[in-house]
């Protein structure tokens, strides 16, 4: 919350999907590092891989997140409720990528302007500033790819 009681995301940035903002707010306000890490692992454990009716292996390179060392893939699927986002994380050690995927799944069916307002540096709010360049780059690229797919889908519509 800021000085006038507004959620900071809303106060100094564009509105982002509520379900995403709630998770980010909860985690970034955890002062204890261990508590934050446990929350991120719990988030990663909620990750669900893209269902086979939407995509199957081998996943196409066009859906692969460019800088992600965890070999993450993003899929945008138009449903009756809006655009759904689905993910795959091929590296079994990609716990952070799974956490990010679980978070971004919450952007499904949100309005386009809210999806496009998700800031890439949200990565640091979640994981802290101690990430390596490679790790932070990959996680940021997951956000960029979600936004790019949302934008492209809107263009088609």
């Amino acid at each position: 919350m800021d000085r006038v009681g507004q959620r900071r995301w809303f106060a100094d940035r564009e509105v982002i999907p509520t379900a995403v903002a709630e998770i980010v707010d909860a985690i970034k306000n955890m002062e204890d590092r261990q508590e934050r890490i446990e929350a991120l692992i719990a988030l990663a454990n909620r990750f669900r891989e893209v269902p086979p009716e939407i995509a199957t292996r081998p996943f196409p390179d066009t859906n692969r997140v460019p800088a992600c060392e965890s070999q993450a893939y993003v899929f945008a699927f138009p449903s009756d409720l809006g655009l759904e986002f689905h993910f795959a994380v091929e590296n079994p050690q990609g716990v952070s990528a799974k956490a990010m995927a679980a978070l971004l799944q919450k952007a499904s069916c949100a309005p386009l302007d809210q999806i496009l307002s998700i800031p890439e540096d949200l990565v640091y709010d979640l994981f802290g500033r101690e990430l390596s360049m490679g790790k932070s780059a990959g996680l940021m690229e997951m956000i960029r790819m979600v936004k790019a797919l949302a934008k492209a889908s809107n263009r088609v519509d």
Partner: protein
């Protein structure tokens, strides 16, 4: 260690231990297993039973000076993880032991020579279906008197590298060919950040670090295979290795110093993030 590692013919085969060896020594009070990763969620999500975590940013670096911890801080770290000068420390981690090798190198600055790397790293342990736990061990604090940090034997600084380059001594750039050529300022597919200029230090040759690893299981290649990569350099030559921040080159430093037994290998941890941005420092493309 085990027979498979011995048969690979390394100069200092004791520098490596197998996953089997680690599994047999989980309860050995003289052994401390240390996990060092790039991904901060990996250790807490599950690690080798009894292993402690040493984090490359929080535990080894002094971010205010872009330097490493001093001997007092190192002694404090060793005390916290229950290590004495006689303890055998065994490093393992993600990314084919990148960060494990980096931690190994930092420990070498303080002369903790009783150190090993677990061949194949975390992924090999996991793929073999070996036990993981989320229980974080607590060991009785030790009294560890650390040596002063030795920044001479295994570490190189900018001015030394400049002279080394001018003298055309052996300089190995372990980054990707695209980074080496200047086509990229970063690892493949990574965003452009880290350095103003692309290219390499004059006189450097490009031997990407990952060539030292078997891609199928993350283990190190044999002595003969490694000599095919580095054998053109005389074992007594003065060698400096570098990458972007000194982590990938720690891996190559380990390979050359321990697996091949080259005595005079130093790691330039300033690496391309310093050199590529440095005023007055020449580059080649």
């Amino acid at each position: 260690m085990n027979r498979a590692i011995e048969e690979r013919g390394y100069a200092i085969a004791d520098a490596l231990v197998s996953t089997e060896w680690v599994a047999r020594h989980l309860s050995d009070p003289g052994v401390r297993v240390i996990e060092s990763n790039e991904d901060p969620l990996l250790y807490p999500s599950g690690h080798i039973p009894g292993a402690v975590e040493v984090d490359w940013t929080r535990d080894l670096n002094d971010p205010l000076t872009r330097d490493y911890i001093d001997s007092e801080e190192f002694a404090s770290l060793m005390s916290r993880i229950g290590v004495t000068p006689d303890t055998t420390v065994v490093f393992y981690g993600d990314r084919n032991n990148w960060w494990a090798a980096y931690a190994f190198w930092v420990f070498s600055l303080f002369g903790h020579e009783n150190a090993r790397i677990m061949d194949g790293g975390r992924i090999k342990w996991v793929n073999e279906g070996r036990e993981l736990t989320t229980e974080v061990p607590v060991y009785p604090a030790t009294t560890y008197v650390a040596n002063p940090r030795d920044d001479v034997s295994n570490r190189a600084f900018r001015d030394e590298v400049l002279m080394h380059s001018k003298m055309r001594n052996v300089l190995i750039d372990v980054r990707s060919p695209e980074e080496f050529s200047g086509e990229r300022l970063h690892m493949p597919d990574f965003p452009n950040e880290g350095a103003l200029r692309g290219g390499h230090i004059p006189g450097a040759v490009n031997v990407p670090w990952a060539k030292a690893v078997n891609p199928e299981d993350g283990t190190f290649k044999s002595y003969d295979e490694l000599m095919e990569l580095y054998g053109q350099y005389g074992p007594d030559e003065d060698v400096i290795v570098y990458c972007r921040i000194g982590e990938r080159s720690s891996h190559t430093w380990f390979v050359m110093k321990y697996l091949l037994g080259f005595p005079n290998v130093r790691n330039y941890d300033g690496s391309w993030t310093e050199w590529g941005n440095g005023v007055g420092l020449p580059i080649e493309k």
